[in-house]
């Protein structure tokens, strides 16, 4: 009985050690004291001795003291985002993404979150849910230990603003139309990247006939608008530079040409053949 007790205790201790040595998330800012109406970036880093390739993080912040402005993925180890950094509830940011090449090591930047301070007070950032997935082909999940970080917002501190990002290179954009394997639908797949300043957002507009639709923000992958024959995809980086790519849906173009020809043929028939038939009928 004693042996069993020690075995259970050892097992708990051992699992604790494994957890402590597992992947960990930590936060960092450039400033720790700042005044209201300041802007700053919270950098989120990953440390892992084991190879990992996917993460799902939920980070809490006080919404009455801070306003979430968005994410900046420049210098990030993340290659694919299931969705851009999103506020789930007020005061909770969700980050879901992965790396094409397994990551292991220290100080792997996941993303920088931009905030604006609204009023004075001590601000706590908390990792409330951190799931890291091992790159082992099985999707083994490891829970990252809770992580905290705090900064002070005081009226005595200086007002800090984020300096504009300097980047002279437009973002890279690769877009193509892909057929889905099951329902054989068409979707737009695009990959946008900017190593210097990071990508800000992507938009798409389309033509069904002759005029462009309004631009709408998209994330990869995006469904194709029905009956569109021309798409224009635009990616903008954090320095405001943009890259455009135009795609044509040849199937839809052929359909449209066919339809126009049919209408033309119908009109010819109506205005040429129908009166002839009527005259024939009249002669009888």
């Amino acid at each position: 009985m004693k042996k069993l007790f020690y075995a259970i205790i050892s097992l708990f201790l051992f699992s604790g050690l494994v957890s402590a040595a597992g992947p960990a998330i930590y936060f960092k800012t450039d400033v720790s004291n700042l005044a209201p109406s300041s802007e700053f970036e919270l950098s989120i880093f990953l440390n892992s001795k084991e190879e990992v390739n996917v993460f799902n993080l939920e980070i809490n912040y006080p919404p009455d003291t801070l306003k979430f402005l968005g994410g900046n993925n420049s210098g990030s180890i993340v290659d694919v985002w299931q969705k851009p950094p999103t506020v789930l509830l007020d005061g909770e940011v969700s980050l879901i993404g992965g790396t094409l090449k397994p990551f292991h090591g220290e100080n792997g930047l996941i993303v920088k979150l931009k905030f604006q301070t609204l009023k004075t007070g001590e601000v706590f950032f908390t990792l409330t849910n951190g799931k890291i997935y091992l790159a082992n082909g099985l999707g083994t999940v490891i829970k990252a230990p809770e992580s905290f970080y705090s900064i002070n917002v005081t009226s005595e501190a200086p007002v800090v603003t984020l300096s504009p990002i300097l980047d002279s290179t437009p973002p890279m954009l690769n877009a193509e139309i892909v057929t889905t394997p099951i329902e054989a639908g068409k979707i737009l797949v695009f990959n946008s990247e900017d190593k210097e300043s990071g990508t800000d957002y992507s938009t798409m507009r389309f033509k069904r006939w002759f005029s462009w639709s309004d631009s709408q923000q998209i994330i990869n992958p995006a469904p194709l608008p029905a009956h569109a024959w021309q798409l224009e995809i635009k990616t903008v980086n954090n320095a405001g530079l943009e890259t455009n790519e135009t795609l044509y849906l040849w199937e839809e173009i052929l359909k449209k040409i066919g339809l126009l020809l049919l209408v033309l043929l119908g009109m010819i028939l109506i205005f040429r053949v129908a009166p002839m038939g009527y005259n024939k009928y009249k002669r009888k």
């Binding site: 694919v80 789930l88 969700s94 992965g98 082992n136 889905t180 797949v189 639709s213 998209i218 109506i270």
Partner: protein
């Protein structure tokens, strides 16, 4: 007779152009609900989160009463008469399979194609698995090569995101 000669082409022309106005929309159905006379708004998109997926339309979707065992959605344009039925209070959520009018069998097929660990969801585990095989080719990765081009690449990851259930 002269008048008839002039009018006949015009009637034929008008009948061609006005034919689309008599086309009826197909109802959206799923085990949980029916949407009568759907009108898909232009600019529809695909919204997704860990909690939901909106596959097609946004804004005004219907011009009738959409009802299920758990809810009644009443909406319409100005000409639509005021519904007389009382609004039912939702008692529970529609079943998870209810979505976008896709037949349940097709939805099941879609999920199965990208659910590599067979837990009924296309989620982070499946993303981790497909990323593990990223860049590889050959027979052993056929299960993860979703578009069948011989290599696990960005397109396969994007297709997995398209089928994401969370």
């Amino acid at each position: 007779m002269k008048l008839a000669k002039k009018i006949t082409p015009l009637i034929l022309l008008l009948s061609i152009f006005f034919l689309p106005f008599f086309v009826r929309a197909t109802d959206f159905t799923s085990p949980g609900f029916i949407i009568r006379d759907p009108v898909i708004k232009l600019g529809a998109g695909f919204s997704t989160s860990s909690g939901f997926q909106l596959w097609s339309s946004i804004g005004q979707e219907v011009i009738g009463i959409s009802s299920g065992t758990t809810f009644i959605l009443q909406s319409g344009f100005l000409y639509f008469p005021l519904p007389t039925t009382t609004t039912a209070q939702p008692v529970n959520l529609p079943p998870p399979s209810a979505g976008g009018g896709l037949p349940p069998s097709l939805l099941k097929k879609i999920v199965l194609s990208s659910d590599f660990n067979n837990d009924g969801h296309v989620d982070l585990i499946d993303l981790s698995i497909i990323l593990y095989f990223y860049g590889q080719n050959g027979r052993k990765i056929a299960r993860y090569d979703l578009n069948g081009d011989g290599t696990v690449n960005f397109i396969d990851v994007s297709i997995l995101f398209y089928y994401w259930t969370g």
